[in-house]
């Protein structure tokens, strides 16, 4: 899997993951959103712009603004928009933990997709208030989180636990208890506390294993790629040794190729309206 590390490969995987995720969500947007009334959309944490570009392509009346803290991701996203000859999509590098440089009541929809904790629990309220500020009074917010589910591979399950431990050690935990470091199940509560209304959620599975499932395999490879980034912090927090980590990664890469590989993650999609 050496080619996993090349940028082009990552982009291909991200695109594949995006399509697989959208297939599982049965669309770009939750059904409560009336797409024909959408004019201005803000995509926070937009990565390589896959969602933003596809939304703009699907709905010619929509303007999309994408924000991400990673300048490389913004470059990829801009390139994607240029290739698609889209004028209606803009991408900006932005620090999401400080006030957004956007005017009040600008957007009909704020969309966020993340597979990482993204914010510390005490940063979420501030961020959600910013989302509320830039939303029009009738605007809708949609937060989507990927959370890890069970798998048949011991190595995969071990990583699920290690990641949870790491994120909690880094202060992303919603409590000191295990399994509380992913924000998805806390979205509705946080939306309510930020003063949003009519909050609800939808939870859907994404299959990573089984036979004839290239989309799921792409998601899993992207998960592995992101896992490599946790090597140093995991060692630093003394949760695992370097050798153990490498052996575990090798095992995880091997397990996905086995015919009996079965694993899943879930998409938690929460939505609420400003007014």
């Amino acid at each position: 899997m050496e080619n996993l590390h090349s940028g082009a490969m990552v982009s291909v995987l991200e695109q594949a993951q995006h399509h697989h995720v959208m297939h599982c969500l049965e669309g770009l947007l939750p059904p409560i959103i009336d797409v024909y009334k959408l004019k201005q959309v803000l995509d926070v944490n937009c990565h390589g712009g896959a969602w933003a570009v596809e939304l703009a392509l699907a709905y010619p009346g929509v303007m999309v603004t994408g924000l991400d803290s990673d300048p490389e991701a913004i470059e990829i996203a801009r390139h994607k928009a240029m290739t698609a000859k889209l004028q209606r999509v803009r991408f900006y590098e932005a620090n999401l933990t400080v006030p957004l440089k956007l005017q009040d009541e600008t957007f009909d929809l704020v969309h966020l997709f993340t597979s990482q904790p993204l914010f510390h629990p005490n940063e979420w309220p501030h961020f959600l208030h910013e989302c509320k500020r830039v939303l029009k009074p009738t605007g809708v917010i949609n937060l989507v989180n990927v959370t890890l589910g069970p798998g048949s591979s011991h190595a995969y399950q071990r990583f699920c636990v290690l990641i949870d431990q790491l994120w909690r050690a880094m202060g992303y935990g919603f409590s000191d208890k295990p399994g509380t470091a992913t924000p998805g199940v806390y979205f509705v509560r946080m939306l309510n506390e930020a003063g949003f209304n009519k909050s609800s959620y939808d939870i859907r599975p994404i299959n990573l294993g089984g036979w004839n499932n290239p989309g799921g395999k792409a998601c899993y490879q992207l998960f592995l790629k992101n896992l490599l980034k946790t090597r140093e912090p995991l060692i630093q927090y003394k949760l695992i040794s370097g050798d153990e980590f490498d052996a575990l990664i090798a095992q995880t890469e091997k397990d996905i190729l086995e015919a009996d590989f079965c694993a899943m993650v879930a998409l938690i999609s929460a939505f609420a309206v400003k007014r």
Partner: protein
């Protein structure tokens, strides 16, 4: 099962009716009677109302077996949809089986046969007898090491081209930290007793392994379906009942947890109390996954 006495247990007066502090999720009388029905419907709703995977041609079948049938909820639904299908239900637990028998007799359903059988032992059934063997939520009564033997028995009693379906539930995440802690302690306790597929006991891990075990058993057309189970406020009253049932189960595991010195009894009681109150949150959100693995017996 419960040896140690506990103040809350005494105050409730009856050990069997325990959940220590579930103030407003108290299970009412009618709920207790309907608990099995409600939980069955809850899982069925998660499975989009399908009693079995679509690929299985039940209309052409004569005879089915439900392993670990409990109070027979799945069987009665099957009987309703397929009046000509003969359905056998077996379970090691006599109480629910007795209820199922009463219900069968009251309805005069001759197509249903119920037997008290330990499903971890060889079945007193000839080879190639059933067209369809169904199992759901049996992890509590089958130890991980017993699974391959149980599957081999299911395959033995299946006719060639008969189908085996196994559905198991895995609780994943919920916005109650105490509930997450209980889950973690319980799986670790099970692991210490050798009742977990996962060495470190981080998850019971049976559900995602069924697919591999059917492949291992050389069945044909092996596949699996995934359905998320809503544990949060949108899952409604039944989701709460379901979570209450899990807390009761955790409570029954208490002596084991304490004996294994994984937690003090006070610490565990505190967790249960905390979880019971956290589960009342109006914005509760959580999910589990039902993994349904299935395969067809080969022609040989």
């Amino acid at each position: 099962m419960m040896q140690s006495s506990h103040p809350m247990q005494q105050s409730s007066g009856n050990a069997a009716s325990f959940p220590p502090t579930l103030p407003r999720i108290q299970v009412s009388q009618s709920d207790t009677a309907n608990l099995n029905t409600l939980l069955h419907q809850y899982l069925l709703r998660a499975q989009e109302g399908r009693l079995y995977p679509e690929i299985i041609p039940v209309v052409e079948m004569e005879c089915a077996l439900d392993m670990g049938c409990g109070a027979g909820e799945w069987i009665f639904d099957m009987a309703k949809n397929h009046p000509k299908l003969r359905i056998y239900g077996v379970d090691v637990d006599e109480m629910p089986l007795h209820r199922a028998t009463q219900r069968r007799n009251a309805k005069g359903l001759c197509q249903i046969q119920l037997r008290h059988i330990d499903i971890t032992q060889p079945l007193p059934v000839p080879d190639s007898f059933f067209d369809f063997v169904h199992m759901r939520r049996c992890t509590r009564s089958i130890a991980p090491t017993q699974w391959p033997g149980v599957i081999a028995e299911c395959i033995r009693v299946l006719k060639p081209e008969g189908w085996l379906v196994m559905a198991e539930l895995e609780l994943c995440q919920i916005s109650s930290p105490a509930m997450m802690a209980i889950q973690s302690v319980m799986t670790q306790a099970r692991a210490k007793y050798g009742n977990s597929m996962h060495i470190r006991g981080e998850m019971t891990g049976m559900a995602p392994r069924l697919y591999g075990m059917l492949l291992q058993a050389q069945m044909d057309n092996v596949a699996y379906d995934l359905h998320t189970v809503d544990l949060g406020f949108m899952g409604g009253h039944t989701a709460r009942l379901f979570l209450t049932e899990i807390i009761r189960y955790a409570w029954r595991m208490r002596p084991m947890v304490v004996e294994q010195q994984m937690m003090s009894s006070e610490g565990f009681d505190e967790l249960i109390k905390q979880a019971s109150s956290e589960l009342l949150a109006p914005d509760l959100c959580g999910w589990g996954v039902l993994i349904t693995a299935y395969g067809k017996r080969g022609n040989t």
